[in-house]
């Protein structure tokens, strides 16, 4: 099956999935929209962590910056949501580029710690400059109609459809990017940086570019989150957001895009159900689920069918 056909089938599957959510959970579209936004965020993480092997626990830095950029852009430049998304992408990419100059020189635990530190610094900056960001109160704004026609409605229909459209765009873009020579280089960097240098690749600069692209996609997710809730608060820089995204990716499986989508869907659904059943101990259920999956299917839920097939053959 050709790559284009696989991408087309993937898009159809995503549309079908979105339609099931739209019609099946019509009274819970706000939650469904959050799932779609997280899918975009985890896809961006998959590109950085799953494909290029860049360990990070600070992906929220780009998400949060994208969210603030969209909100500030809407209040001071234009309320057009598409332009706001572009502003979020540019801001997310810019913060990844700036922090990447330092981060991409580090490895392993140092890289993890530095990525957390960058997010914490941004969190404090957002808190300190409350005149721009709204500080602890948050920054509320009213996004304009999409393409000048589609107003965000109270029930969340437009927000959901708009989010799904952006998810499809990000998915297609990442499919193209990961299949390109640049995507192959990312996989090469994940497998062996020493070998990449030995074939003449300027590894540091390539990693910086990968991190910047990943940051731009995370910025899109952040901007979308801001627009669909019409509010940005300091929580966009929460460590839990970065850590949760890593968990969702591990749950679904890294380096294959679909793992990011499946992992997000399962994690957020279980989270939603568990927290409504037991608002105090829902983390226990999430933790147990992750433990079981990682123990039984170390490569994530995407590897489950192959594993079941192997068990059946035995």
């Amino acid at each position: 099956m050709s790559h284009t056909l696989k991408t087309a089938l993937g898009v159809i599957a995503l549309i079908a999935l979105a339609a099931v959510g739209y019609f099946g959970l019509a009274d819970n579209l706000a939650f469904m929209t959050q799932v779609v936004i997280m899918m975009i965020f985890v896809l961006s993480l998959d590109y950085v962590l799953g494909y290029a092997g860049i360990s990070t626990l600070g992906h929220a830095a780009m998400f949060g910056t994208g969210a603030y950029a969209a909100a500030i852009f809407a209040t001071s430049v234009s309320s057009d949501p598409i332009l706001g998304i572009l502003a979020g992408a540019v801001a997310g990419g810019a913060i990844a580029l700036l922090s990447g100059f330092v981060l991409m020189r580090a490895h392993g635990l140092t890289l993890l710690m530095l990525s957390i530190a960058v997010t914490e610094v941004l969190h404090e900056l957002a808190n300190k400059y409350s005149g721009i960001t709204g500080g602890a109160d948050g920054l509320s704004f009213t996004p304009g109609p999409i393409l000048g026609r589609f107003e965000f409605d109270f029930a969340g229909h437009i927000a959901y459809i708009y989010s799904v459209c952006l998810l499809l765009l990000v998915f297609i873009k990442l499919r193209v990017l990961t299949a390109s020579p640049f995507g192959l280089a990312a996989r090469g960097i994940r497998e062996s940086q020493a070998r990449m240098r030995a074939i003449g690749t300027p590894v540091y600069w390539r990693m910086l570019l990968i991190y910047t692209f990943g940051g731009a996609f995370a910025g899109v997710a952040g901007a979308l989150s801001a627009q669909t809730t019409a509010l940005v608060s300091l929580s966009v820089y929460d460590f839990q957001l970065s850590a949760g995204a890593v968990l969702m990716l591990i749950l679904g499986g890294t380096g294959q895009l679909w793992g990011a989508i499946l992992g997000t869907m399962v994690y957020m659904t279980v989270h939603q159900i568990a927290s409504s059943v037991d608002p105090f101990n829902w983390l226990f259920i999430i933790g147990a689920m992750v433990l079981i999956v990682v123990y039984l299917v170390p490569n994530g839920l995407m590897a489950l069918p192959a594993l079941l097939l192997r068990w059946r053959r035995k």
């Binding site: 640049f182 996989r187 497998e191 030995a198 074939i199 003449g200 570019l209």
Partner: protein, 250 residues
């Protein structure tokens, strides 16, 4: 300093008080087949790292076709024509043999940064991959992830990847290390089939391989060159016999 090929003059490297390369001077002209031998800790790997740019020399000169390559990074030296294989096989293990070969071929052409077209949609690259697979007898393993190959075959993939860069200087760091004796003829065969104009420096402990493929042998001891000569001269030298080859060699 001018000249064709790789020229190393009075190369020194010290880590604090520890001197690991002392006044190393050697030439590698096009088509040369030289081997660098020496006991463990002689400084062979350090020398390789100095040439490929992994570490910087304390003093001395390294030129390629008269051009000073010392200011160049590791990747810039590869683009200038200096390539190496690793002592311990270093491949993209989860990728197939074909993908492993595609990476250096795309990088050599400057296409590895492209963002739109599929990586496997460049006919000239795919044709060159086919040629390398045939040359190294890997055609049947083209779509196999390299970590599923036998170690000797992984060594061949590494050599093929390095050759894909079309280097002018090839440093083979212990190409037979860890390869079972049943697979070592594959390595010898591959080295014998290397392009005639390629300068090859083999760092190797396997004396059978060294004596078969090298026209000249350089003996390195404690970071300094003890002597350079033909295999016959080296094996006849009493110092080398005592220091490295031992009494068993004849």
């Amino acid at each position: 300093m001018t000249g064709v090929g790789l020229k190393v003059r009075n190369l020194n490297k010290a880590f604090g008080g520890l001197v690991v390369a002392r006044n190393i001077t050697l030439d590698l002209a096009p088509g040369d087949r030289k081997a660098l031998i020496g006991p463990n800790g002689a400084g062979k790997s350090t020398f390789t790292n100095l040439i490929t740019g992994i570490i910087a020399p304390t003093s001395g000169e390294i030129t390629l076709d008269g051009r000073d390559i010392r200011p160049m990074s590791e990747s810039q030296r590869v683009k200038a024509g200096v390539a190496k294989t690793f002592q311990i096989t270093t491949l993209f293990k989860a990728l197939t043999v074909r993908e492993n070969l595609r990476l250096p071929l795309l990088e050599r052409r400057g296409w590895l940064g492209r963002l739109i077209r599929r990586a496997d949609s460049y006919p000239e690259v795919e044709m060159e991959i086919d040629g390398l697979l045939k040359q190294f007898k890997l055609t049947h393993h083209a779509h196999t992830p390299v970590d599923r190959l036998a170690y000797g075959q992984q060594r061949l993939v590494e050599m093929a990847m390095t050759l894909a860069l079309k280097p002018r200087i090839l440093i083979l760091d212990e190409p037979a290390a860890g390869v079972p004796s049943s697979e070592s003829p594959l390595i010898m065969e591959a080295i014998a089939a290397l392009p005639a104009d390629l300068s090859v420096l083999i760092i190797e402990h396997d004396m059978n391989l060294v004596f078969k493929v090298a026209a000249k042998i350089i003996v390195l001891v404690a970071g300094a060159i003890l002597m350079e000569g033909t295999p016959a001269e080296i094996s006849a030298d009493a110092r080398v016999r005592d220091l490295y080859l031992g009494a068993h060699h004849d």
